[in-house]
C-alpha cells in the first residue's frame, strides 16, 4: 500500500473528536486515464465509516473525526491513503494505479468497517485486468472470464452463457453501463459481443440484488465500458485468432471520449468445432463523459453489434444490438443526488432455415425494443441513507418463429410462435439503510408493472462486523420478471438460436423467486476468504420441454425451482516485491425443478465444482493458469430399447430400417454424466514497456493453451461414446452422444497500446 501526501484541502485543521460531522465528496479515477473507478471502497480510519464509489467514481463520506485518514481500495488497483484535514476545500480526486495481480481481490466483498452501502452483498466486481488473467480460448472474453466468480457456471468451456446459482443464463439480465441489453452473444453464444478492449469491469450481482435493480430472476451482469484519459490521447490494437480490435480515447477536463471496435476475421472459424459457414461480426462501443473528472455530470453510451451468418438468402441468421443511453447528474454536490437517465435498446434477429431444437430448422423474425426513462434519488446522513427511484418504459416485442419446413420434421411439438407485444412498463423502488454500531440494515421494496401484470418485491439485507477482520452479511428478498425469455438449457454445445419471448399475463404466470443468502468475509494479511450460502424457491420458471419427453405434446413448461448451495473461496495475494496470487474455489450447488411430477435435478445442475486460478509475475513475464473440475451433469437415461413393429401394413412402407430402435427414457435427469477436468495455462510477455512504467508505448504478446491435458472434457453416455451416437451391449442404437471433444486450443494474442 502506498501512502500519498495530503491531496486536499484547504488550510484549516479541526482535529477535534466529536466535532460536527463533515461530509467530504470526491472521485476515484484511474491514474493517467481519469477513467472513473466504480465500487472503490473509501474507509475513514478514525471515523470508522466507509463508502463506495458509484458508477461515475463518485463518493461522499461523512467524517466525525478530523483529521482523518481515508484508505481507498478497489479491485484491480493499488490501494492509496489520503489524510484529510478539513472539508472546506472542495472535492478530492484520488488517482489509483493499476495493480498487476488482482485475482484474489475478487473475493473481497465487504468493507472492514460499517458502511451504509450494502449492495456489495452477493456481488463480485471483475476488472478487465482480472479477465485477462483467465487463460483465454481464442481471445479474452468478458463473459467466459466470469469463471473466476463462484456464483457463475457454464455448460462448457467454450460457452459464454453465464448461469448464476442454479438458474439459466436466460434468467440473467445483462446491462451495458447500466442500460439493459439483450443477447450479447456472437456465434453459438461462445463469445460475448462486448469487446474486452472496451471493458472496464464486469460486475455480477446475484439475487436478491438491490431494490434499484430489476428484470432478472437470478442476477444481473453489468458491463462497464471504459472512459477516455484526460489531457492525452490513448490508443491500442489487439490481434487474436478470433478478431482484430482497437480502441482510442482522450479528452480534457470538460469531456472525455472513448471508442472501441472489434471485427472478426475468418481465421477463427477453424477453431470452432463443426462450424464451416460464412460468418462475420462487428462490434463498436463509444462513451463520452461530460464534466470534470472529480464530478462528472453526465455520460453518454453508444453500443452496436451485428452478426451475419449464412451462405445464401435461403439459409441465414442475422442479428444485432443497438443501444444508446445517457445519464445526467441533476443536482449540485450535497447530501442529496438525483440522477436522470434515458436509454433505448433494440435487439433484432432475422433468419431462414436456422438450425434449432429438436432438429427442426426454423424461420424467425424477432425484435426486442425497450425505451426507458429513470430518475434515481439518493440522500445520506451519517447513519441513514435513503434511495428511491422511478422508471417509465416501453417494451416492444415481436417474436415470430415457425418451422422452416414443416414436413421435414417428425415431431409436431414445434409451435409456430407469433407474439407482438407492446406495452408500457413502470418500475419504482424505495430503500432505507440504517447503521447502528457494527450492524447495518437495509429494507426496501420494489414495484414493477407492465400492462395488467404487477409484481411487488420486498428486499432486506444486513451486515455485521465481527472483530477487525470478519464481516457477516445476509440478504432476503424476492425477484420477478414480467416476461419470459425461454431457450433450451440443454442445447450446448450444439448451437440453438431460438429464443421464445412470452409475456406474463393471462395464461402465463409471472416468474417469481424468493432468495436467501448469507456471506462471511474474512481478511487477514495476505489471506482472503469468503464463504457464502444461498437458497431460493421460484415459481413459474419457464423452460422448453426436453427433447426426450415421451408423454406430452407441450413445447413450453412452467414449474417451480429450488436451489441451494455453498460457495467457498480462499485466496492468497502476494506482495509488491513478490507479485503472485492464487485462488481456490469450491462450490456445492443443488438446483432442482418441479414440472408437476415431483422434484428433479435441473438440466445443468452440477453438485460439486472446484476451480483454481494462479498468477505469477516476474519482470516482463506473467504466467497464469486455471483448473476447473466438476462432477457430472444430469442425464435422462435410456432404460429400454426395442424395434418398432406395427402389425399389418406399416405407413413407413419399405423404408423401415432393420436398425430401427425405440429408446424409452427413464426418470428425467435420473442419471449423471461423468465429471470433467480441464487445465488451462498461459503467459504474457511485455516486449515493450513494463507494468506501471511511464512509457507511452506498450507491446504485449500472449499465449495460452486451453485443455492442456488434451483429454476428453466430457466423456459421456453408455457404450464407447466415440462417435456421434452410442450403442448398447446388444448393438442397438441409443441417442447418447458425447457432448464434445475439446481439443487442446492454443491462442496467440498481440496487444499494442499507445
Amino acid at each position: 500500500m502506498t501512502r500519498s501526501a495530503l491531496v486536499a484541502i484547504g488550510v484549516a485543521t479541526l482535529g477535534v473528536r466529536g466535532a460536527p460531522a463533515q461530509t467530504i465528496t470526491g472521485t476515484v479515477v484511474a491514474k493517467g486515464a481519469s477513467t472513473p473507478i466504480a465500487g472503490a471502497r473509501i474507509i475513514a480510519t478514525h471515523s470508522r465509516l466507509a463508502a463506495f464509489t458509484n458508477h461515475a467514481g463518485r463518493f461522499d463520506i461523512t467524517l466525525t473525526v478530523l483529521p482523518d485518514t481515508l484508505t481507498i481500495a478497489a479491485i484491480g488497483w493499488v490501494p492509496d491513503t489520503v489524510v484529510v484535514s478539513d472539508t472546506t476545500g472542495g472535492s478530492l480526486v484520488i488517482a489509483l494505479r493499476s495493480a498487476p495481480i488482482i485475482i484474489s481481490d475478487l473475493i473481497v466483498s465487504g468493507a472492514r468497517v460499517p458502511t451504509l452501502d450494502l449492495t456489495n452483498h452477493g456481488r463480485w466486481r471483475m476488472p478487465i485486468e482480472a479477465a485477462r488473467a483467465v487463460p483465454p480460448a481464442v481471445e479474452t472474453d468478458v463473459y467466459r472470464a466470469l469463471a473466476l466468480i463462484p456464483a457463475v457456471s457454464f455448460t462448457s468451456p467454450l460457452s459464454a452463457r453465464p448461469m448464476v446459482r442454479g438458474y439459466d443464463a436466460q434468467e440473467v439480465t445483462t446491462r451495458i453501463d447500466g442500460f439493459e441489453a439483450l443477447n450479447l452473444f456472437h456465434l453459438g453464444r461462445a463469445f460475448a459481443s462486448f469487446p474486452a478492449d472496451a471493458t472496464d469491469e464486469i460486475v455480477v450481482s446475484t439475487a436478491p440484488y438491490a431494490a434499484a435493480q430489476a428484470g432478472s430472476i437470478a442476477g444481473i451482469l453489468d458491463v462497464a465500458g471504459r472512459t477516455g484519459p484526460i489531457d492525452r490521447f490513448q490508443a491500442g490494437l489487439g490481434l487474436s485468432f478470433g478478431s482484430l480490435s482497437g480502441y482510442a480515447g482522450g479528452g480534457n477536463r470538460q469531456a472525455r471520449y472513448f471508442f472501441a471496435g472489434r471485427f472478426l476475421h475468418l481465421k477463427a472459424l477453424g477453431l470452432i468445432p463443426g462450424i464451416d459457414v460464412p460468418y462475420h461480426f462487428e462490434d463498436i462501443y463509444g462513451s463520452v463523459a461530460i464534466g470534470p473528472p472529480e464530478r462528472p455530470r453526465g455520460r453518454i453510451t453508444a453500443f452496436a453489434t451485428q452478426d451475419r451468418a449464412g451462405a445464401n438468402s435461403t439459409s441465414f441468421l442475422n442479428w444485432g444490438n443497438v443501444l444508446l443511453g445517457g445519464r445526467w447528474l441533476a443536482t449540485k454536490p450535497g447530501r442529496t443526488e438525483v440522477e436522470l437517465s434515458v436509454s433505448g435498446a433494440s435487439f433484432r434477429e432475422d433468419g431462414d432455415d436456422v438450425p434449432s431444437v429438436h432438429a427442426v430448422p426454423a424461420d424467425l423474425s424477432n425484435r426486442f425494443t425497450r425505451v426507458t426513462v429513470t430518475a434515481d434519488l439518493a440522500t445520506a446522513w451519517p447513519l441513514t441513507r435513503v434511495d428511491a427511484g422511478l422508471s417509465l418504459g416501453w417494451r416492444d416485442i415481436v417474436n415470430r418463429i415457425a418451422d422452416a419446413d414443416p414436413d421435414r420434421a417428425s415431431v409436431p411439438r414445434f409451435p409456430t410462435t407469433s407474439l407482438r407485444l407492446a406495452r408500457p412498463e413502470l418500475g419504482a423502488h424505495a430503500m432505507v439503510t440504517r447503521r447502528a454500531g457494527r450492524l447495518t440494515l437495509a429494507g426496501g421494496i420494489r414495484l414493477d408493472a407492465a400492462g395488467t401484470t404487477t409484481s411487488l418485491a420486498p428486499r432486506l439485507s444486513g451486515r455485521l462486523g465481527i472483530g477487525r477482520d470478519m464481516r457477516v452479511s445476509a440478504g432476503l428478498g424476492r425477484t420477478s420478471r414480467l416476461y419470459h425469455l425461454v431457450g433450451d438449457a440443454r442445447s450446448e454445445p450444439d448451437f440453438d438460436f431460438l429464443d421464445f419471448w412470452l409475456s406474463a399475463g393471462p395464461g402465463i404466470p409471472t416468474a417469481v423467486a424468493d432468495h436467501a443468502t448469507l456471506e462471511l468475509n474474512l481478511e487477514r494479511g495476505s489471506t482472503v476468504a469468503r464463504l457464502g450460502g444461498y437458497a431460493s424457491h421460484g415459481s413459474a420458471i419457464g423452460e422448453l420441454e426436453p427433447e426426450h419427453d415421451q408423454g406430452t405434446a407441450r413445447f413450453f413448461r412452467f414449474g417451480e425451482s429450488r436451489t441451494r448451495g455453498l460457495e467457498a473461496q480462499l485466496a492468497y495475494r502476494g506482495t509488491r516485491q513478490h507479485p503472485a496470487s492464487f485462488s481456490l474455489t469450491y462450490v456445492y450447488g443443488k438446483s432442482e425443478r418441479n414440472w408437476g411430477e415431483g422434484w428433479v435435478r435441473w438440466a445443468q445442475d452440477r453438485r460439486h465444482q472446484g476451480r483454481a486460478f494462479g498468477q505469477l509475475a516476474r519482470g516482463r513475464l506473467t504466467v497464469f493458469g486455471a483448473m476447473d473440475a466438476a462432477t457430472g451433469m444430469p442425464l435422462t437415461p435410456v432404460v429400454y430399447a426395442f424395434g418398432r413393429g406395427i402389425p399389418g401394413a406399416d405407413p413407413r412402407g419399405s423404408t423401415v430400417s432393420l436398425a430401427d430402435s425405440v429408446p424409452v427414457y427413464g426418470p428425467e435427469n435420473g442419471a449423471t454424466t461423468s465429471g470433467t477436468l480441464r487445465v488451462d495455462a498461459g503467459a504474457t510477455y511485455r516486449l515493450v514497456g513494463r507494468p506501471g512504467s511511464a512509457k507511452r508505448f506498450h507491446l504485449v504478446i500472449g499465449i495460452s493453451i486451453i485443455n492442456v491435458l488434451a483429454g476428453p472434457v466430457a466423456p459421456f453416455g453408455l457404450g464407447e461414446g466415440a462417435g456421434r451416437y452410442a450403442t448398447d451391449r446388444k448393438g442397438r442404437w441409443l441417442p447418447y452422444r458425447r457432448l464434445f471433444n475439446l481439443p487442446t486450443v492454443p491462442t496467440l494474442t498481440l496487444r499494442a497500446e499507445l
Partner: protein, 238 residues
C-alpha cells in the same frame, strides 16, 4: 510461493483426474410391456403387437411375448371385445370390432399383471382429389412423380406405401398438396402394384416418425394405439 502453488495444483489435478468416467444410470427392475396397434377405419379386425422388453442392462436377449395378456378394445357406443391370441404368433392379439371413421377407441387390460390403457381417435373423411381414379399410370424405368391433393379430418400426417411424400424425401408429410415419388420396379415388363395412401392421427405420427423420442400414448407401458384411414389404389407400370 511458486513451488507451493505448483505442488497444490499437481495434487489437485491428479486427484480429480482419477474420478474417471462413471455414469450413474439407474436401471428399472422389471420388463416393460409394449403395445403397438393401428386401428384402420372401416375394418372389423385389428391386430395388436404385445411384447415385454427387458431393461437395457438385463442379460436377456430382447423382447419376448408376454406370459399373460388380457386386453379389451371398446368403442364409445359401449361395444367391448376381448382380444384373442393369433394362432402361431405368440406376441400378437386380435380384436374383432368395427372401426368407424371418427370413432374413439380404448384399449385396456393387463399384461403380466401390469395394468395398461390407451385411447385414440380414428381419422375420417379422407378426401383425395389427386391422384384421381383408382388406377394410376406410371412409366417404366422412371421414378414416378404423382401429384397429390388430399385432406382428412383428425389426421396430422399422410404417407404413401410404397413411396416418399416429403419435400426432402421423407416417408410422411403434413402437407395436403405435393407429389409422391415412387421408384420403378425392376425389369421392363408392365406390371401393377398396390399403392396405399395413409392419413394418420397424431398418436401414430408421433410414435412412428420421431427417432429420438417417440411419443407413447400407452399408460402403464409403452407403445401406441394409433388411428389411420387408408385409401387403396393401383399403380400401373407400363
Amino acid at each position: 510461493m511458486d513451488t507451493r502453488v505448483g505442488l497444490v495444483w499437481a495434487a489437485i489435478a491428479l486427484t480429480i483426474n482419477g474420478c474417471g468416467t462413471l455414469v450413474d444410470a439407474p436401471s428399472p427392475d422389471r420388463s416393460l410391456p409394449v403395445v403397438e396397434a393401428v386401428l384402420i377405419a372401416r375394418t372389423t379386425s385389428s391386430t395388436v403387437h404385445v411384447t415385454m422388453v427387458p431393461p437395457l442392462d438385463d442379460p436377456a436377449q430382447g423382447p419376448r411375448a408376454p406370459v399373460t395378456a388380457r386386453l379389451f378394445l371398446s368403442d364409445e357406443a359401449g361395444h367391448r371385445t376381448e382380444l384373442e391370441p393369433v394362432a402361431d404368433s405368440a406376441a400378437y392379439l386380435r380384436a374383432t370390432l368395427e372401426i368407424r371413421p371418427g370413432g374413439r377407441y380404448r384399449l385396456d387390460g393387463a399384461i403380466e399383471g401390469i395394468p395398461i390403457s390407451a385411447e385414440t381417435t380414428v381419422p375420417a373423411g379422407f378426401e383425395i382429389s389427386l391422384p384421381a381414379g383408382d388406377t394410376i399410370a406410371a412409366a417404366l424405368r422412371q421414378v414416378a412423380s404423382i401429384a397429390f391433393r388430399w385432406r382428412a379430418w383428425g389426421a396430422t400426417a399422410f404417407a404413401a406405401s410404397p413411396g416418399v411424400v416429403g419435400r426432402h424425401g421423407g416417408t410422411h408429410t403434413r402437407d395436403t398438396t405435393g407429389a409422391i415419388r415412387i421408384g420403378p420396379p425392376e425389369g421392363d415388363s408392365p406390371t401393377s402394384a398396390p399403392l396405399l395412401l395413409w392419413a394418420m392421427n397424431a398418436d401414430l405420427e408421433q410414435y412412428l416418425f420421431d427417432d429420438t423420442a417417440p411419443t407413447s400414448n400407452v399408460h402403464g407401458g409403452f407403445g401406441v394405439l394409433g388411428g389411420a384411414i387408408i385409401a387403396r389404389k393401383t399403380l400401373l407400370w407400363r
